[in-house]
C-alpha cells in the first residue's frame, strides 16, 4: 500500500538559513512525488513534483526537492528561508502501478508546520 511519512510535525528555522522538510514514502512501483504548501485558511498550492529524470527538482518560490530512491525520500529544501515561507507543507505520493478508477489518487502525509523566525 502507498504511504507517506513526514517525521517532523514542526520545523523551526531562522530567516536566511537553509531549510529542509523531510518526507519518506512507500509504494510498490515507481513513485510519483509531490509537495504542496498551505497558508492559513487557504487551500493547498502545488509546489513541485518528481515523475522521472533528474533527482533534483526545482519548483515555485525558490523551493527544490531531492529524490533519493535508495532512501525512499523526497525532502523539500530551500537555500535561504524567508519569514513568508512559514506555512504547512504536505508531501504526497502516487504509485505508478495504480490503474483503473484509482488513477490520479494521491496519498498525503500529515503535514509539517514550518516556522521561519526573523
Amino acid at each position: 500500500a502507498q504511504s507517506v511519512a513526514q517525521p517532523e510535525d514542526q520545523v523551526n528555522v531562522a530567516e536566511g538559513n537553509p531549510l529542509t522538510v523531510k518526507c519518506t514514502y512507500s509504494v510498490s512501483g515507481n513513485p510519483y512525488l509531490f509537495w504542496y504548501v498551505q497558508y492559513p485558511n487557504r487551500g493547498l498550492q502545488f509546489l513541485l513534483k518528481y515523475i522521472t529524470g533528474d533527482n533534483l527538482v526545482k519548483g515555485s518560490y525558490g523551493f527544490e526537492a531531492e529524490f533519493n530512491k535508495s532512501q525512499t525520500s523526497f525532502h523539500l529544501k530551500k537555500p535561504s528561508a524567508l519569514v513568508s515561507d512559514s506555512a504547512l507543507y504536505f508531501c504526497a505520493v502516487r504509485d505508478s502501478k495504480g490503474r483503473g478508477s484509482t488513477l490520479g489518487r494521491l496519498y498525503f502525509g500529515r503535514g509539517t508546520q514550518l516556522t521561519v523566525w526573523p
Binding site: F34, N41, R42, G43, S101, F108
Partner: protein, 115 residues
C-alpha cells in the same frame, strides 16, 4: 490558471441538517476529490470521482455521499450533519491521464461548523 471554486468559505449548520458543499473546476479535469482536514490528522480522502456519475469511496466515506452530474461539478452531501463533521473541507481536481500531469489543484476550502 486552473481554478477550483467552492460554494462557501464558512458555513454554520445545526445537528441533523442536510448540508451541501459544492465544488466547480474550470480545467476540464476528469478527476475530482473531496477531503477533510483536521489538526494532526492531515488530509483524509472522503470520496473521489473519475467521470460523470462515477464515484469511489475514499478512506472515510461514512456519513457522506457525493454527486457528479456534470464534469465540472462535484458535490459533497452530509445527509444528517453531526458535530464530529465539524472540519475544513477541501475539494481538488486533476487530469486522469499520465501525460497531462497528476498534480491536484485545490479549492480554497470550506470551514464547516456543526452546532
Amino acid at each position: 490558471d486552473v481554478k477550483v471554486t467552492q460554494s462557501s468559505r464558512y458555513l454554520v449548520k445545526r445537528t441533523g441538517e442536510k448540508v451541501f458543499l459544492e465544488c466547480v473546476q474550470d480545467m476540464d479535469h476528469e478527476n475530482m476529490f473531496w477531503y477533510r482536514q483536521d489538526p494532526g490528522l492531515g488530509l483524509r480522502l472522503i470520496y473521489f470521482s473519475y467521470d460523470v456519475k462515477m464515484k469511489e469511496k475514499g478512506d472515510i466515506p461514512e456519513g457522506y455521499s457525493v454527486s457528479r452530474e456534470k464534469k465540472e461539478r462535484f458535490s459533497l452531501i452530509l445527509e444528517s450533519a453531526s458535530t464530529n463533521q465539524t472540519s475544513m473541507y477541501l475539494c481538488a481536481s486533476s487530469f486522469l491521464l499520465s501525460g497531462r500531469g497528476w498534480e491536484q489543484f485545490f479549492g480554497p476550502g470550506t470551514r464547516l461548523t456543526v452546532l
